[in-house]
Every structure is written in C-alpha cells, then in structure tokens.
C-alpha cells in the first residue's frame, strides 16, 4: 500500500515485454537474477544451438533455410517441404542433396524441442508478469530462491514427473508421430530416398487402401482373431496364474519355494528361444510329439499341429497354450503375493458362517485379488494385441489360408502388416493400416475402461 505511491513501481506488463524480447529480461528487472539467468541461458543456449548447427557465416546468396538454417529452422523447413533436391548417384558417390525421410525425422525432433522451448518462453513471460504483479500488490520483494521454492511446492507433481515425461515424449511419442506422418506421404518401394524425394500426399493413401476391397475379408478376419487371441491370451494367463497361486497358497503344500522356483523359470529364458524350441517340438511331420503319439498308437496319423489346413483351430489353440506357458508365471507371482495379504479374519468369518471353500474363494479371495490386479489386465490385453514375437517365431502365421491375402490362420494384425508392408516396402500403406488398427483397438479399450469404471478411480 505504501509502495503504491512509490515512483519505483514498474508496471507488470513492462516486465512481460522485456522478457518477451530478451529471455529472462523481465526477471532481471524484477531483481530476480538467478531466475533471469536460468531463463537467459535457456534462450541463449537454443539460439547458440541454431547458430552453430546452421551455416550463418556464409549468406552471400541471401538467407535460405535449406542452406543456412540450423537445427531448428532447417528442421522445420525439412518437415514442411521434405526436401527440394534429391541426391544423385555418381562414380565419386552421392551428390549433396536432401533425404526426405531423414529431414522428416529431424523436423519432428526439432518441432518437439521447439514446443518445449515455446513452453519455457511463455513461462518466462508469465513468470515475469506474475512476479511483478505480486510484488506490486504486496510491496515485498521476493528473491529468486523464494520464488523457486514456492514453485517447487505448487508444482511438485509436475517437477517430479518431468524426467519421466521427457523420456516418454521423445522416445515413445515422437517415433509414433513419425509413424503416423508416414501415412501421409508417398514413401514406398517406388519412391526411395535419397535419390528420390518423398512428398506429402494428404489422405491419398487412405483412399488407395480402401480400393483393395478384396483384402477387406482378410483384414476383418485377422482382426477378429486378433481380438480373440488378445482376450483369451490375457484371460488364460491370468486365471492359470491365479489357479497356481491359489494351489501354492494351500497350507498342505510342502516345498513351496521349490515349486515357485520351477514355475518361474520360463521367465529367465529369452522368449524367442522358447518359441523356437516349441516350434520344433510341435513340428507336425518331424516333431517328437507327433512321432511319440504315432509310435505309442495314441493317434493313427501324425497331428499336424501348426500346418493342418483342415483343423486350423488346432494351431490357434496351441499358440494360446504356448503363450500361456510363457506368460502365466508373471501372474502367478503377482497374485501369489496378493493372496497372502487377504486378512485371515475374512476367512474365519466365512468359516463361521459355514461357507464352502469355493464360496470363500469366489466371495472373498477373488474380489480382493481382482481389485488389486485389474488395471494390469488391460495392459496385458494391449500387449497381447500387439504380441509380435510369439506368433512370428512360433507359426509365422501359419497354417496357410487360401481365402486370405498373404495371411495365415494365426496371423495377428501386427504380423500380417509387418510381413505385407515391410517385406514389400509399402511403408506408407503400413502406416495407414497401423493408424486404422490403432483407432480400432484404442476405441475398444477406452469403451471397456469406461465400462469397468476404473477410469474414475484414476
């Protein structure tokens, strides 16, 4: 109040403008030197990065983004244009030029960094204005440290999360953005950089994909099986793990530690080698299991586990069982732990009421364990939906199905798309189909999540 008449008062907007012109300038004016310095360094650092990665010393021909731009400006230019000059092959190697796909990737990286910088920039301005306003109102000068401490208190969750967020942003989200953008280009076999340029083509690829109607049948059937697979694979591993855990929890079972140690072994072996061994064991013609059944007279003919075109469900069931072998130890360990925590008092009360053991299980044990582990079921469903490894190494999609286009009976969407689009270098088509698949599975999952109400508990 006293200070309001003081001529020293600087209007808040002025600090904002100063910060907008020079990073940290407003803070300087606010005499919050440390904060100002931090902001200044961020601003100066990014400017230095741009200048040192670009070619700003030679602008004799005027400023051209392509030739002079640095990490940020050239990045954005590349993302927008995807290059203007293809390289040419000659005896002394490739001539200089643009690699569209590299430009695109670098452009996305630059864009992500710029978004973060914009965030800091806006913050830098806001911070200057807010701090000034506070000071003008209260008339008390706050040092940088006091401000930062306040920030730490009010933004604690964000600050703690930021390292994880940054990693996720760059290593998980950025590549997906790249994968999505590929769908809007003509990047494919006939248009391979660096001697050709890739172009933005809008939604053309989506139109092209719908034109291969004959594949729709394959797509729908593979999609259906993928859902069946993902749901069954999740349920079987979960419930079998549950079952084993309950058995091991039985007080009559001795040597619990030994049993657990055995059951946990599938974890320790690389899944790929297990899948390859199973593939060999269940080879219909040469595998030992078919031979054993034949030799002992249990079957009259060999069982063609993975290759019988007339009994395709056999391969599917077997794939699910092998996935069960690989996956149940996880849930066993998880649920085994949860089980021991179910308070004995519940069971005693149940016993007093004369409940049978199955009643006790379904009314007490199951609900408690289920509640503790339900979110993991969703995660497991998602991982099974895109479970590339098991199918690819185990069956390669077989047995062959003559009604499908390039897909077998156990092919999941991901293995089908992989074989189809990468083996044939149809990158843009692969991206289009990835987006379609993503939209389907994501909406399914969201609906399911909403139904199960687990969303509200987040």
């Amino acid at each position: 109040m006293n200070n309001s008449n003081n001529k020293q008062t600087t209007p808040a907007w002025a600090t904002g403008i100063l910060s907008a012109i020079v990073w940290g300038g407003g803070q300087w004016l606010n005499r919050q030197y440390l904060k100002g310095l931090v902001f200044f360094l961020i601003g100066a650092g990014s400017l230095t990065a741009e200048l040192t990665t670009g070619h700003y010393n030679d602008m004799s021909a005027g400023f051209r983004l392509r030739d002079n731009g640095g990490f940020f400006l050239k990045g954005l230019w590349g993302l927008v244009t995807l290059g203007t000059q293809p390289r040419k092959m000659g005896m002394s190697g490739l001539t200089p030029g643009d690699h569209s796909i590299v430009l695109m990737a670098n452009g996305i990286i630059a864009l992500f960094v710029i978004l973060i910088l914009v965030f800091f920039y806006v913050w830098n301005i806001r911070d200057a204005v807010m701090a000034r306003r506070r000071m003008n109102e209260s008339g008390i000068h706050q040092s940088s440290l006091q401000d930062m401490k306040q920030l730490w208190e009010s933004m604690y969750a964000y600050i703690v999360l930021s390292p994880a967020a940054l990693l996720t942003l760059f290593i998980c989200i950025l590549p997906i953005v790249f994968g999505v953008l590929i769908a809007f280009t003509d990047y494919s076999r006939s248009n391979t950089p660096p001697t050709k340029l890739v172009h933005w083509v809008g939604f053309d690829n989506f139109v092209t994909v719908t034109q291969v109607f004959s594949w729709m049948h394959t797509f729908l059937n593979v999609l259906l099986w993928t859902f069946v697979w993902a749901i069954l694979a999740t349920i079987t591993t979960y419930f079998f793990g549950f079952f084993q855990a309950v058995l091991l929890n039985n007080s009559d079972v001795k040597l619990k530690k030994l049993w657990r140690s055995i059951y946990i072994l599938p974890w320790a072996v690389p899944a790929m080698i297990s899948a390859l061994v199973f593939k060999s064991m269940f080879n219909g013609q040469f595998g030992p299991i078919s031979q054993f059944l034949l030799d002992t007279g249990l079957t009259d003919e060999r069982i063609y586990w993975f290759t019988d075109p007339n009994h395709t469900y056999l391969a599917r069931i077997l794939a699910l069982l092998i996935n069960l072998w690989l996956g149940f130890p996880y849930f066993m360990a998880l649920i085994g732990g949860t089980l021991t925590t179910v308070s004995d008092s519940y069971y005693e009360a149940a016993r007093m009421d004369g409940a049978t053991s199955s009643q006790t299980f379904w009314k007490i044990t199951f609900p408690i364990v289920y509640k503790a582990t339900a979110p993991l079921l969703m995660l497991s469903f998602v991982s099974n939906f895109n479970n590339f490894g098991v199918i690819y190494f185990l069956t390669e999609g077989g047995p062959a199905n003559p009604d499908y286009n390039f897909a077998g009976n156990t092919d999941l969407l991901i293995t089908w798309l992989y074989k189809l689009t990468l083996d044939n270098r149809l990158y843009n088509m692969g991206a289009v189909m990835s987006i379609i698949v993503f939209l389907i599975v994501a909406s399914f999952s969201l609906i399911n999540l909403r139904k199960s109400k687990s969303l509200e508990e987040i």
Binding site: W215, E396, Y418
Partner: protein, 459 residues
C-alpha cells in the same frame, strides 16, 4: 511377454523396419526371400550414367586400378568393410595387405540380411562401411536407396572373369552395381554311399522319374524316411521343376507381367504337385533344418540345398562315414534341363563412401584370384568366377562338390532384379498348390491378382 513391458513390444516391432531381415531360418532362406523392384528407371539413371563417365576418379592404366585417395593409400585413414564371416574377413584383409601393404582396413561382422537396411541409415549418418556385402536378391533395394554405387572401369575386368549371368543380374541400365563374390545356387546333393547300397550304383538321378522310382521302395512316412527333401513351399525351390516344363521367370524381361496365368506354368504346377507323392510333407513342416539334419545323419539319399552346407556336410560325412556328391538338379523326363534362380552374394561399394576410389579397389580385389582364394580357404564358399578362372583359385581345382554347384549355376536363369512382391505372391502360389489348398487354376488366378495388387500399392 510381460517381462518386456509394453512399449518394449511395440518398440521391438518398431525396430523391425530396419531389421527387416529378422526372423528365423526357415523364413529367410538366404537366396530366396525378398528382392526388390527395379521399376525405378528414368531420369536418375541417365544422370548417373553421365556422372559415371565424369566421376573425377583417376584411373591407373598400368595397374588397372583406380588411384586411391591419399589418406587411404598412406594409411592415414582406414577403409571400413562389412563382411558376414569373421574368418573370411580376416583372410581377406590379410590378402589385401599383401598387395596394398600401406592401406589400413577395418572390418565389422554384419549379416548379409541386415546390411542394406543398416547401410541406408548408417550411410546417411556418416557411419557406414565403404564396402559391404549383401545377397543378390536385395540388390534392387540397394540400388533404389543408393547404398550401391556403380563400379566404373572395373566392369571390363570383371566381365572377363565372370559368367554373363552374374554380370547381368548385378547390372542395371548397363552399369554394374555390385561385384559378384560367391555363387550360392542350389543343387542336388546326394549320398553316394547310401545310393550305392540302395540301387547298386552311386550315380545320382537326372530326372524326377528316377527319384520317384527309388521312393517307391525307400519312402516310409511312418518313420519319416524320405528319398528326397527340399523346402517345398518356396518358389525358389519349385522353380527348377517349373522351368523344366517351360515356365521361365520374366522371360520377356517385363517386370509388369509375371505370366502367372501361362499354360506352361499350369503344366509345371500340376507336375510339381505330383511330387507330393514322394515328399508328403506340409510346406510349413518341411523346415530347412529338418532337411539338412537328416542328410547329415546319412539317412536321406537326396536333398536340394546350397553350398552353405558344405562345412556341416563335410564334417558329418567324415563322422558318419558316408560320401556325398553334388550335381545338377533333376529335370522332368519330358522337359528341358532344370534351371534354377540365380543365387549369389555380392560386394557393394557404398554410395556414401568418402573414399570411392579406394572402396572400388577393395571391392574389385575381393573378386581377384587372391580374394577368391581367401574366400574359399576361409569359409569354403565358391567364388563367382567363370569355370576356367575358378581353377586358378588355390585348392579349388578338383573339388567335385564345387564342380556340381558350378554346373548347376551354368543352368541358372537370367533374371532381372526380381521385385519382392514376386516372392510374396509366388510363394503363396506354391504353398496353395503344394498343400492342396486351391486347384492349380485358382491358385494361378489368385497369384496373378496378388501380384497386380501389390504392384499397384507400391506405386
């Protein structure tokens, strides 16, 4: 599964764009898996021809070599090469040192199935090799993504030393883009000792009829005793039968027209289907390791495979006391000789190389007598040279097994760089016929359509 976490999985798969050679053995037969299109002609090649004439590289007429960059010839910088086998790499670099003592060569062991995809990124990043190896069937891809550069003046030398088939498959628009290093054509491998015991003669069959004759008495499906074994579900292995009955891949050199609907193919496929009577195995069960391992035990008279098995077979023949031979593939009695599809591994000079002259010198050296000797000595592979030139390679003369592969290579069909969708649709065709999923006619129609679809999608 769970232990990897979820992004782990999607990343894993993500990575496969570059790791597109990934997979287990039976999906990736060295020579038959995927190839690439060559429908990318036009402006770029006209320009590159011009560039080839005016590359700025100095040619030393006396030495018949390019003049290496001074950094390399002085040993200041080293040349980087990617080879598939450690033993070969060591032997080759050692041989190179003898001729060019000052030059430093660094090698890395990189699988042939990976090299082009890795080169595309590493080259752009400035970290790639100067010379690297790949299989011929991926060459079109390497030309497309500019990881393979033309060889320039070495073409003349190489043309003198190598069979025309090999030169043609590595050439595009009359420039050579790769140095054929070793030939990997499939051939008929036969167990002499066993044949002698069974038929009284150790002469191999020359027609399928003879194989069938033996099968009548020798086959026993209960105990998996088979007269002949091969990868039945792949176009690459079915091709000798189909070509014997008159269907040749891209006979008119037109990649738009696979002739999947031709009558010759119908005839060939119908005959191919009858072979199921002597090798009654579903295509996916006939994995290559089940094929080779049975031969190794000495219980299978015939297998169709390639020279990469020599090392194993030689060892097994010594252990299990049998002799084996290698000869041309059996033909259909009423048909022509059985032609195979070309299989060669090639050395490529990277378009990204900073030392284009030195890289070409090294690539050319790999096909020289010394380079060929290193190849043969270290891993027993067959140099892709003309028959009379091969005899100059130390130790190779008189090797009957190698003679068999060479004899079959001479029957190899001259094919342009086969686009990958040929194998995608062709393998599907063969599986549909072999596993009796579709009638021959329906399978042909489906393949024709599949080929057209895949081709259109890539445009």
């Amino acid at each position: 599964m769970k232990k990897y976490g979820f992004l782990g999985i999607s990343f894993t798969v993500a990575a496969m764009l570059v790791a597109s050679g990934c997979g287990n053995g039976s999906n990736n037969t060295a020579t038959s898996d995927t190839t690439t299109s060559s429908n990318n002609t036009g402006t770029s090649n006209a320009e590159s021809t011009a560039a080839a004439e005016d590359g700025g590289l100095k040619w030393d007429d006396a030495a018949k070599d390019y003049v290496m960059e001074p950094e390399i010839s002085s040993g200041e910088q080293s040349l980087k090469v990617w080879l598939e086998y450690e033993e070969y790499a060591k032997a080759l670099v050692e041989a190179f040192k003898v001729k060019y003592p000052k030059v430093k060569v660094e090698y890395e062991v990189v699988a042939k199935v990976d090299s082009i995809d890795r080169m595309a990124l590493d080259g752009e990043a400035g970290k790639g090799a100067d010379v690297f190896m790949s299989s011929y069937n991926k060459l079109a891809q390497a030309i497309d993504n500019a990881t393979a550069a033309p060889l320039g003046k070495y073409e003349e030398t190489l043309k003198e030393r190598m069979p025309g088939t090999f030169i043609d498959v590595v050439s595009k628009d009359s420039q050579m883009f790769g140095v054929p290093i070793s030939t990997e054509s499939i051939a008929l491998f036969y167990n002499k000792t066993l044949l002698k015991a069974l038929t009284g003669s150790d002469k191999p069959a020359t027609t399928w009829d003879e194989v069938m004759e033996l099968a009548k008495t020798y086959n026993d499906s209960k105990t998996n005793q088979w007269t002949i074994r091969f990868l039945a579900g792949q176009l690459y292995y079915a091709y000798p039968v189909l070509s014997s009955l008159g269907w040749h891949l891209y006979e008119d050199n037109n990649l738009d027209e696979p002739h999947f609907d031709s009558e010759a193919l119908t005839k060939g496929l119908k005959y191919y289907k009858t072979l199921r009577s002597i090798w009654d195995v579903n295509s996916a069960d006939a994995t290559w390791d089940s094929i080779e391992s049975e031969f190794v035990k000495g219980k299978t008279p015939y297998v169709i495979t390639g020279p990469w098995v020599f090392k194993d077979f030689d060892k097994a023949a010594a252990d299990n006391k049998f002799e084996y031979g290698v000869t041309t593939l059996p033909k259909v009695a009423s048909g022509d000789k059985a032609a195979s599809l070309t299989g060669i591994s090639v050395a490529l000079v990277s378009g990204y190389s900073k030392y284009p002259a030195a890289a070409r010198v090294f690539a050319n050296f790999m096909a020289s007598d010394e380079g060929a000797a290193a190849l043969y000595k270290s891993i027993g592979a067959i140099p892709a040279l003309q028959a009379d030139q091969i005899q100059n390679v130390e130790g190779i003369n008189g090797n009957e097994h190698i003679a068999g592969i060479i004899a079959q290579s001479e029957n190899a069909d001259l094919t342009p760089q086969i686009p990958e969708y040929m194998y995608t649709s062709g393998n599907e065709l063969i599986v549909n016929v072999w596993d009796n999923l579709l009638s021959v006619g329906d399978a042909q129609q489906k393949a024709e359509k599949a080929y057209a679809d895949l081709k259109a999608l890539g445009k």
